[in-house]
């Protein structure tokens, strides 16, 4: 019997979604659910579980191999070891998450988590089907190489995933300031899911928001600028195959237009929205244009 935080938490995920829907219905909390959007998010979650099983053997095998070549042997029973992996895993998640937004090859797998125009607990379950094949799980291998047992890494990853479920809600406005200062909260993560230029590619945190504060990617939620959820170009239907694969197909189409090795690299590993002629709509392009507009309005 293995300890899997996500499996254990799944009944609570379902109960919390029910509670959020009922709270919106009867207590008029600031929450919206649209049935087809909900169906798409939940079906993506189920598909992600299946995809995880298909790739799970490979991930486990590689992790075990790396662990066999470890530098130290870290005891799973030591409190300091759990404290260490809590911070190291969360830092790894920050790196993974940032890569998954800032480079298209990894964004292609992660984009579906952001493709809902809603932000509710069902959005948390809109997970990737292709995250295994783009190799981001390799980012956790240094932990095994350091000597953290693979089971410990898996448990900590599960704890992070479970933590990140409850923050996908509009029902909680802000938590006490000390909590907002240290932890990823619904407010911080609403910013992360927003497509307003001010909020693009911000707040990559898993559990601790301190990484964003340290590495300059933190953006607070402003009451005067409510988040608009989704992606820069929202999807035109609820087709689950489109949700899962549209960015991969987009990469394929763009590669047919590539005229040089630079184009190929840019289309695959450049930031999402990159174009060879510089006329693209990357997050930085959009943020720069927004700053210029805001500056012009202020100056005017």
């Amino acid at each position: 019997m293995t300890f899997d935080p996500v499996t254990l938490a799944t009944p609570f995920f379902i109960l919390l979604v029910i509670a959020e829907i009922l709270a919106a219905k009867f207590a008029k909390t600031r929450t919206h659910y649209e049935a087809r959007d909900t169906a798409t998010s939940l079906a993506m979650g189920l598909g992600s579980t299946v995809a995880g099983v298909l790739i799970g053997g490979l991930v486990a095998g590689v992790t075990l191999w790396v662990y066999q070549h470890r530098v130290f042997t870290i005891p799973m029973t030591a409190v300091w070891a759990w404290l260490a992996i809590f911070f190291l895993e969360d830092l790894t998640y920050y790196g993974f998450h940032r890569l998954s937004h800032e480079r298209r090859f990894w964004w292609a797998a992660h984009v579906n988590h952001h493709s809902s125009q809603h932000y509710n607990l069902s959005t948390a379950l809109r997970q990737t089907w292709t995250g295994g094949i783009n190799g981001t799980w390799l980012l956790w291998m240094p932990l095994a190489f350091l000597g953290f047992p693979p089971a410990m890494i898996a448990i900590e990853k599960g704890i992070s995933l479970v933590y990140q479920f409850w923050i996908h809600t509009e029902a909680i406005k802000r938590l006490p300031a000390p909590v907002e200062a240290v932890f990823n909260t619904p407010s911080h993560h609403r910013v992360h899911h927003a497509r307003n230029p001010r909020y693009l590619d911000r707040n990559y945190a898993g559990i601790l928001i301190i990484w964003d504060r340290m590495f300059g990617t933190f953006e607070p939620e402003l009451d005067e600028e409510p988040p608009r959820y989704g992606i820069v170009k929202n999807l035109g239907d609820f087709n689950i195959v489109r949700v899962a694969f549209h960015e991969w197909i987009g990469i394929g189409r763009d590669l047919t237009k590539a005229r040089s090795a630079r184009d190929v690299l840019g289309y695959v590993f450049g930031p999402p929205g990159w174009r060879p002629d510089g006329e693209g709509t990357t997050s930085e392009d959009l943020r720069r244009a927004w700053r210029e507009r805001v500056g012009a309005e202020t100056d005017g």
Partner: protein, 133 residues
């Protein structure tokens, strides 16, 4: 895949069906009244900031709209309780043929390959946008 995985997957499928049914029953989607020109221009201002479109055409069912700025068209249409916006060459829209009281646009965009706009009774297509061109 073992039996327990199949049972868990089946149970998850059932749970999804129940949650979707609950979400539909609750009727807590965002309100989406028929689009008017002010709403369309609000959407345009967010989606295509800085674009000045002089004329706006709204579909007969209020679920979509088209704006024109020179040779460029900006289309907005409802998906669920949200909206999707894209730009396309005006020529693409102009040559579309009405069918069954609607215009069915095929866009070169894998994320939004098709947009449908309902035409009013006897409405002309394309809309007269010369003033905006």
């Amino acid at each position: 895949m073992d039996l327990s995985f199949l049972i868990k997957t089946g149970a998850s499928g059932l749970a999804i069906a129940l949650l979707v049914a609950l979400a539909a029953w609750a009727r807590i989607a965002r309100p989406t009244p028929e689009l008017d020109e002010a709403a369309v221009r609000d959407i345009l201002a967010f989606e295509f900031p800085g674009v000045q479109a002089a004329a706006c055409w709204i579909a007969a069912d209020g679920r979509g709209a088209i704006l024109r700025a020179g040779d460029e068209a900006f289309i907005v249409y409802r998906i669920g309780d949200g909206y999707v916006a894209r730009s396309a060459p005006w020529a693409l829209l102009a040559k579309a043929a009405p069918k069954n009281g609607a215009i069915d646009l095929r866009l070169a965009d894998v994320g939004a390959p098709r947009a449908r706009f309902k035409l009013g009774e006897g409405a002309a297509w394309p809309p007269a946008f010369e003033a905006a061109a």
